[in-house]
């Protein structure tokens, strides 16, 4: 006798067994922290090769960037412009647009703010003058992004190339403006008029930390919420994740593209403005801190999450402030900070790849 009763057909055809949450978090931590440790060892190897004691270097970085009160204040101050840049990059990257023109946008924003603020403070109340300079810087950076934005939106020209090229132009243009147009006639050094310390953004409490840090934190949190909680942010993420689905769903992709570039460049320009009206007070000729390029890997490390980006920006600031001190003390070039961050990024990517392969092997 054959048994004709078939087993009850499972309704849950697609159900994938959910992994235990605790193990998932543990795995995440492992594939994030493990590579960072490995990177420190690898970078240490580089230091040994150039004849520097890695432990002394790392110790000095941590000491100067994090543990000493003055160093910590410098670190937190450095975060202010970096947070704006990170916010700008998050908007663009989440929408699938690779704005690599941060340096040009940053410097043009900085020069606009530096050129306008000293005049504005003479005519307007202090806070309004700074706000106006801030807006001018934002607007200039936005306009600067129009060329790559329009090319990408209506001609499909790859924005990686155009933003990079525009960045070279922007950096040079900012320099030319400082040397020829906005030159401070009162000094022999080519630089813009200096905004008096009293006119700059107030410092926080009794420290040297700029209040720009607060604005930076607000900016990145607002951007994060915009991207994750609003209809506008969702539209941008759809354009980033599947542009054809965006067209199918009736989104105006070219318009959104231009908006993304404007917001992204605007935020980066704000970073430039904050650096001037809060910290530097003027722009010297040939000044280019190249924050834009340094923040790109940070945003990737944070997986374009605003809150995670705050943590990684802090780390970057510690490394760069500490690295600057260590550079002076141990003769390690300042750019070693970037070497370290790049090693971290590459080992993280390799860890991610191995993790994926392992997962696939386990499922197969």
């Amino acid at each position: 006798m054959t048994d004709n009763t078939s087993p009850a057909t499972s309704r849950a055809v697609d159900v994938v067994a959910a992994e235990p949450v605790g193990r998932e978090i543990g795995r995440r931590l492992l594939i994030t922290l493990g590579p960072i440790l490995i990177s420190l060892v690898l970078a240490g190897g580089v230091l040994v090769a150039v004849g520097v004691d890695p432990l002394a270097y790392y110790g000095l970085v941590v000491e100067r960037g994090l543990l000493s009160p003055l160093g910590l204040q410098q670190t937190l101050t450095r975060m202010a412009p970096l947070l704006f840049i990170a916010a700008g990059l998050i908007v663009a990257f989440r929408a699938g647009m690779w704005n690599l023109g941060g340096d040009g946008q940053f410097l043009l924003g900085a020069v606009s703010a530096a050129a306008s603020a000293p005049f504005l403070v003479q005519a307007l109340p202090g806070w309004l003058a700074l706000f106006a300079a801030f807006l001018i810087a934002t607007a200039v950076a936005m306009v600067w992004s129009l060329v790559p934005a329009l090319l990408r939106a209506y001609q499909g020209v790859n924005e990686i190339i155009t933003t990079l090229m525009m960045s070279f132009l922007g950096v040079s243009l900012a320099n030319v403006l400082v040397k020829l147009v906005f030159l401070d006639p009162g000094t022999t050094v080519p630089q813009t008029r200096t905004l008096a310390v009293a006119d700059r953004l107030p410092r926080l409490f009794e420290t040297t930390i700029t209040s720009g840090l607060v604005f930076g934190l607000v900016a990145i949190v607002v951007v994060h919420l915009m991207m994750t909680r609003t209809a506008f942010g969702l539209r941008l993420r759809i354009v980033g994740a599947n542009p054809r689905a965006a067209v199918h769903a009736g989104l105006d992709v070219p318009l959104l593209t231009v908006a993304v570039f404007a917001i992204s460049a605007g935020l980066v320009g704000m970073g430039g403005a904050i650096d001037i009206i809060g910290i530097q007070g003027n722009v010297r000729a040939d000044w280019n801190p190249a924050y834009g390029l340094a923040v790109i890997p940070v945003v990737f490390l944070a997986r374009m999450n605003g809150f995670a980006a705050i943590g990684f920006v802090f780390l970057l600031s510690v490394l760069s402030i500490g690295g600057e001190s260590a550079a002076r003390r141990l003769g390690v070039p300042q750019h070693f900070t970037l070497v370290l961050i790049s090693i971290v990024l590459i080992t993280l990517a390799i860890a991610e790849y191995l993790d994926n392969r392992l997962n696939q092997a386990r499922r197969a």
């Binding site: 994938v16 539209r235 599947n242 105006d252």
Partner: protein
């Protein structure tokens, strides 16, 4: 006339080969035997699974199920170079020669990198191979100066230089003139006479009948028929074409019963299209003077061989593609100048055939994918802010109502099967005031159960008084539920047939360019 031949053992045997892609079964238990001395035609429409099958034979893809036997031994074809070493040479649809190099240089590519290419040796071998085949090859010519047909000959010779026993020609005639195609046919004949096996992939019936020794018909990933050489020789050309048409478009044993939903009492015209023209873009055909009407509760089928403007028609109606002239009228209201969102709000819905490519965002949760086309609209968004609880609540409701099998509404939709993704799309398009629904190949890539469920869903929609435009390349599907079937060919409606006795044959004849 036909010599009774000793059946040689096949070189390649496919047993129950299955290949799945996310959401789609591209090849479903396909059996095939490829023999020396035969031109084996693989016939099927776009999306029938021909390219996937070739991909597996040429080592580009690995099957998910079944076995491939070469000379009777089971072998996994790991890579294109492995396929070549097994004697399987492939000439792909799109030219794989380097246009800036000479023919000789192209033929020498892939040799050992530490040696200078031995052009003199090469030319002797090429002459050996090409002369008996009647091919003239100028080794010093630059590839970009050759015609497409000549380039193809170079590719064939390249495959033969590697001692191929099986030569796969993927859509080889698609770029050729009719004369070039005839020459290729003669060349294939000479190749099989010299003991090669040729696999010739095409979607053109005539070529299958003219060039083939054996014809296998693929349809929606399954092999639905096979005409052996003896039978092929016995049939006249016309009878052969007829038989192939039946195989390609005819009814299958596992098809569902014909059930045409009754028309509503009020069957006025709901959707009307007048003189719609769309300019041609790159490889997509233009639409010319498309006009039709769909009444309340009516299902109008659009039949045709794939790539004759079906997608353009659907996109032009939905507003994704701008029409150069003509109008779309829904319930008496003209849609001129309305964008995608506007048309959707008025009740015109478009269910795309490209479920993962444009219908959904694979990495986003199921819940968001339900509402991709109404982002920002209340009540799920309030002044632009997402209301997560409302969205998930509504998503769960739809999941239940449309029987979507998903671990949860937060699951990325790309992890779901094709049938369940389709249910999400149906739920999305039917929501909130749909009046007319355009379905583009709604059952493409679905398994049988989901195919039948989707068809029933379409009948129910019409039963509720909505106008349905059903675009399908599956004639059987159209015959099983449409009231009328219009046939599209090269961007024009070439005829409309009332569904009923003999409709299938008339539509089939219109599809291949004969009068109904």
């Amino acid at each position: 006339m036909l010599q009774p031949q000793q059946p040689a053992p096949p070189i390649i045997v496919l047993e129950g080969v299955t290949k799945r892609f996310p959401g789609i079964v591209a090849n479903d238990r396909v059996d095939l035997a490829i023999r020396a001395g035969e031109v084996h035609v693989l016939l099927g429409e776009n999306g029938a699974g021909k390219s996937t099958l070739i991909g597996m034979l040429s080592g580009l893809q690995q099957p998910d199920g079944g076995r491939i036997l070469i000379d009777g031994k089971e072998i996994a074809i790991r890579s294109p170079s492995h396929a070549l070493s097994l004697g399987i040479g492939t000439v792909f649809q799109h030219n794989m020669l380097v246009p800036t190099l000479t023919v000789a240089e192209n033929l020498a590519l892939g040799g050992p990198w530490w040696q200078r290419p031995k052009i003199a040796e090469l030319s002797v071998r090429v002459a050996e191979i090409a002369r008996p085949l009647g091919i003239e090859i100028n080794l010093s010519a630059q590839v970009s100066e050759l015609s497409l047909g000549e380039q193809q000959q170079v590719e064939i010779v390249r495959a033969l230089l590697r001692d191929s026993r099986v030569l796969i020609l993927d859509e080889a005639t698609s770029m050729l003139t009719p004369q070039g195609a005839a020459e290729l046919g003669a060349l294939m004949r000479r190749l099989v006479e010299r003991g090669l096996a040729v696999v010739f992939i095409t979607h053109k019936l005539g070529e299958a009948a003219d060039f083939g020794d054996r014809v296998s018909v693929l349809k929606l990933g399954r092999k639905v028929g096979d005409i052996a050489p003896e039978r092929l020789g016995a049939l006249g050309r016309e009878a052969l074409v007829d038989e192939i048409v039946t195989l390609m478009f005819g009814r299958q044993a596992d098809g569902d019963a014909v059930s045409i939903p009754p028309r509503a009492a009020n069957d006025d015209t709901l959707l009307e299209v007048r003189d719609l023209n769309v300019a041609s873009v790159s490889d997509a055909p233009a639409l010319e003077a498309i006009s039709f009407k769909v009444g309340r509760g009516e299902i109008l089928g659009i039949a045709g061989i794939d790539g004759n403007g079906q997608k353009q028609l659907a996109e032009a109606l939905a507003g994704q593609l701008s029409a150069s002239s003509g109008s779309v009228i829904l319930a008496g209201e003209r849609f001129d100048g309305l964008d995608v969102g506007g048309r959707r709000r008025k009740g015109l819905r478009y269910l795309t055939d490209d479920r993962l490519g444009e219908g959904t965002v694979g990495t986003f949760p199921v819940s968001i994918n339900y509402f991709l086309k109404q982002i920002g609209d209340p009540p799920l968004w309030r002044s632009g802010m997402e209301r997560t609880r409302e969205i998930e609540g509504r998503a769960r409701e739809l999941t239940r109502q449309f029987d979507v099998r998903t671990p949860g509404v937060a699951t990325p939709i790309g992890r779901l099967s094709g049938g369940n993704i389709q249910k999400v799309l149906i739920a999305r398009e039917l929501a909130d005031g749909a009046q007319a629904v355009i379905f583009n190949k709604p059952t493409y890539g679905l398994d049988l159960a989901n195919t039948l469920a989707t068809r029933q869903r379409i009948r129910d929609i019409a039963g509720q008084g909505l106008a349905v435009l059903l675009i399908s390349t599956d004639l059987e599907e159209l015959l099983s539920m449409c009231h009328r079937i219009a046939v599209i060919s090269q961007g024009r409606i070439v005829g409309t047939v009332e569904n009923g006795e003999g409709a299938g044959e008339r539509v089939g004849r219109l599809m291949i360019g004969l009068a109904a």
